[in-house]
Chain length 296, copies 2
């Protein structure tokens, strides 16, 4: 695989055995229709993802975690104006209400899941860096589990366009949206939007280009990372695996690499949370973009 | 090695052969008395550091790179007051002028080198993420090489305290200063200051604790990362290795890990540049802290 669009990962369609069950359990527990790019990359480190997930699932399925994700989602509105009217732009590009509704479902599914993944990756990163996660005193109400399984009306597995097999045009779009964020590759969110190349082009050039990596955007991303750290310290149970525990299981460069990958995806997912909520705000307004689309 | 203080790296005293020459060439070319923590971690990825350094040295020894580092250093002043008077604090702790001068030499050596490493790691990270680095039109004056070798008056190799072999007290100090920054381990700068545990304790608790990871600190760190990206695009020659070129040389998790490690250290070194300049400002004032201590 020497395609420049390739970034090492185990795709959702290529896993089997323990990794397949881990991927499925992540989707069912977080109630989301995809395994995050970050997790698919973590899956390339032998043994880590299944272990780390087993150690985290119980804390992540609590009402505390659901409310923490709701808070992060609400904080993610950029408040940068003027906002382009995305619905008008899509009409003008020839999309009808039925097609727009399909795009909306994709955006809402990612809006639901992104802040949950931010919590998960933050917990994994803090543990890897040998700082305490979870174990706080939490009321029994917040300690309770939320129902496992996808919310009604959510597709259980969203189709993601594989950049390495896409047309040159779509590869270019995916590269452009990643570079706009100074990311190493396109988020799953953009792989899903790439099913409508024209939509991806419009959100990239007209919705995201004016805001991504501006001072205000970076300050918001920093706020999310900072707050996510505080929130994972308050989880009712522990989450993640400490670096010292992995020393006999991984090689030195795997240990270092894992630390870097977790650090990078914590910030990556904070960015993407902001970007997708910004797109949704341009489609349906601030209220719809910042509330949980699938409240418990 | 299951010491929790251990982070995978090749220490400066443990390298031989090609890696030893690479380490030496990095120190001589950048004119600094240490190989950065980030580079020592990169050295655990087979073949990467010697190759990446060979591809970068020529661009990094130019007057352009020296001036770019000078600019980053000048931008690094935090302007957060009131500043503790570090000299008074050290006198009060029993240090005399001779000892303070030794500490000063260490701080100035790191102040000289940190922004240079920020440029190097930024160039390596951008290349790894498949974005262009260098190759800009630059005047012949800025394209010229600066002298190779340590500046007069600089120790050629600063002794760094190995956290895994340090006393419990020093281990605790090193962990505290790393956690204060939400870092995965202590910078070389703090390993050097750990030769005077009382100094490390004072700068941690009185100089850095009030500022590290504040909004202003994070905004400054973001400014340095953003500006370093622009500066490496303007380098007179290319630097780093593109991810696609490494695909046959590294395993998938090594490729992913390297991307994460570079991303993490770019931000790590921006932070440390700010922190050490802040300490120096508290010792000798803003002017001394932000100017090149070894101008060409």
């Amino acid at each position: 695989m020497t395609n420049p669009a390739y970034f090492p990962q185990l795709s959702q369609l290529d896993v089997s055995g323990e990794m397949e069950s881990t991927y499925e359990d992540i989707r069912l527990t977080l109630r989301v229709p995809w395994v995050a790019f970050g997790c698919r990359v973590l899956a390339t480190f032998p043994g880590y993802l299944p272990l780390a997930w087993r150690r985290s699932a119980e804390a992540l399925i609590t009402r505390y975690a659901e409310q923490a994700a709701d808070e992060l989602r609400e904080r993610s509105l950029l408040n940068i104006g003027p906002l382009p009217n995305l619905k008008e732009r899509l009409y003008a590009a020839g999309f009808d209400d039925g097609e727009i509704e399909k795009v909306r479902r994709v955006l809402y599914a990612f809006n639901y899941g992104n802040p949950k993944y931010l919590l998960l990756i933050t917990a994994l990163s803090e543990s890897m860096q040998m700082r305490p996660v979870g174990g706080a005193e939490v009321s029994s109400e917040l300690r309770a589990s939320i129902p496992k399984g996808h919310p009604k009306g959510m597709d259980p597995l969203l189709p993601l366009v594989d950049a390495t097999k896409a047309s040159t045009e779509v590869q270019g779009l995916l590269k452009r949206v990643a570079d706009l964020h100074y990311h190493h590759g396109p988020a799953s969110d953009f792989q899903a939007l790439a099913n409508w190349p024209k939509v991806l082009q419009i959100v990239t050039d007209e919705v995201l280009a004016p805001v991504a990596r501006t001072e205000q955007y970076d300050a918001k991303s920093r706020e999310l990372v900072t707050r996510a750290r505080e929130l994972v310290r308050g989880l009712p149970g522990s989450a993640g695996v400490q670096r010292s525990e992995l020393m006999s299981m991984l090689t030195p460069n795997e240990l270092a690499g894992l630390t870097g990958v977790l650090f990078m995806y914590q910030r990556f997912i904070a960015d993407i949370t902001i970007s997708i909520i910004h797109i949704t705000e341009c489609l349906d307004g601030a209220e719809a973009a910042s509330k949980s689309p699938f409240p418990i």
